[in-house]
Symmetry: C2
Subunit: 337 residues, 2 copies
Amino acid sequence: MSDRVRIVVDAMGGDFAPAEPVRGAVEAANEEERIEVIFTGDETAIRKELEGVQYPKERVRIVGTTEVIETGEPPVKAIQSKKNSSLVVGLQLVHKGEADAFVSSGSTGAVLVGGQAIVKKIRGIQRAPLAPLIPTQKGASLLIDCGASVDARPQHLVQYAVIGSIYMKEVMGLDRPRVGLINIGAEEEKGNALCKETYPLLKECKDIYFIGNVEARDVPAGAADVYVTEAFVGNIVIKTFEGVGGVLLSEMKSAMMSSARSKIGGLLVKPALKETLKKFDSSNYGGAPLLGLKGLVMKTHGSSKAKEFKNTLLQVLQFQEHDVNGKIREFLEKADD
Amino acid sequence: MSDRVRIVVDAMGGDFAPAEPVRGAVEAANEEERIEVIFTGDETAIRKELEGVQYPKERVRIVGTTEVIETGEPPVKAIQSKKNSSLVVGLQLVHKGEADAFVSSGSTGAVLVGGQAIVKKIRGIQRAPLAPLIPTQKGASLLIDCGASVDARPQHLVQYAVIGSIYMKEVMGLDRPRVGLINIGAEEEKGNALCKETYPLLKECKDIYFIGNVEARDVPAGAADVYVTEAFVGNIVIKTFEGVGGVLLSEMKSAMMSSARSKIGGLLVKPALKETLKKFDSSNYGGAPLLGLKGLVMKTHGSSKAKEFKNTLLQVLQFQEHDVNGKIREFLEKADD
């Protein structure tokens, strides 16, 4: 029992709730017997999704809730007023120690605000960053912070670098994660005031392997394993990434449909293209952790399907088994000395 | 004579100098008889490129220079010490009123620093932004500022919005350019301190058509005609754009080469793909203007070929014929009242 990792899954969050979160969580529980799933949400709706599905009854349970926080609701107000929502009740379970982690495809704002307000930061953590894994030519890199906390200061970025390195080491199994500071030039003296102040602090930091500045152009190639940046810039990187990828793929698709010749060609190249593009499918890695909290909070895309939920739960398992939060605490205590 | 637009072309800047800048500039002069080209650079090398080429001798001349500013040289020092470089001499010609515009593929830093220090800002312009046209699904949009001046303040961004709108109206022929503020959310209250302060100023500004915040995800789709942002973020957008585009295309190419089947398919789809991707080829539009200076300074990509140089010179022609700087001055005088 003690080895089990107890994961709350918000069954009401995202575009395909409750079907996809329920399916994905059950698949993860079927695959890994150390996973225990606690669904929060409309009990009747969840039971309906579970009907006829094979799953380990003793490791899947439901905590019924009556409210749902919608995307677009002002996060602070929503968290305060909807006490019986799947999101607030789920975060409370983590806060009370009745669960280890919370996974949701619901409103990003509500997950970020709720995570910090209810689960709360580890003592010594100044800001809790959102840190998605982004697919690159070399595999995946962590982009930290990607939208949790704008107008960060240099010392916050140093903490991001350390906890991002711990994450990549423990969860993704990298031996010595390369940390790069996202900047507009390669040389040390380049950039805005924040970068210029942060660079020497990262260079001095003994807990990370800092490789210097990384230009945004080199992010998709996998120039570093941990891309450190302030929330606004991180959000711009990931959104431009998604936007350009989406537009290029849709343009290619319509090009392939534009003539009989290109349609035949399209059918012939499709299997190879699919294989290649799989590498760039972020659902392979699952959701983004909001790091530095007392329990793990994971935000999955609003459009997540079962596969992303499943992979998120598997990522949570790694996080708990490698005691990432314990290692973050160790670093903070050492830094405190 | 008075209708002629006199354009200095730095024949020593970029990866393919002097061949490509010379070829591109000559093509532009052949196409438009209002264009007069002044090459700066190694006279012998330029003459060699012109040998056997058809061009209007009375509208193409050379100002011989002996030094070259290399990419990677610290810009301020390079500008100060290499007085007889193709770049400094070229900018001096604009400063002295002997030319209307300067075009270079050389070091971005040197072009930005030299442009501001030698050609100088129009009175009333606080910061001179670099403003490339970026290809989108709808055509092209102006990204302003894209790297000239980091840590800008809200009032700078308002000036960018106005001069960017003038540019898109006069040079690109848009009736009522839509201005969007690049931000991490659509709602007015979203973003960092800079965005929160800038938004209401843009909303109040009567000289532009402000459509609100634009998320980076919607940039490639052409959500606005003028994307206003601070230099650091602008640089991140364009570099991520280039990086993701480059990686995706190279992955697709190798996917198409991966089997006999996909090779045949690749050959069949190639014409349609090429047609589509042409839309996203930034060399269709030419280089990026450094706006707000007394004369026009255009920075072309380091890897520019003749086509980009030619299109840049045609853009310069539009800029001069529509008296963009006159219109910027009018706005500044009005704002002064």
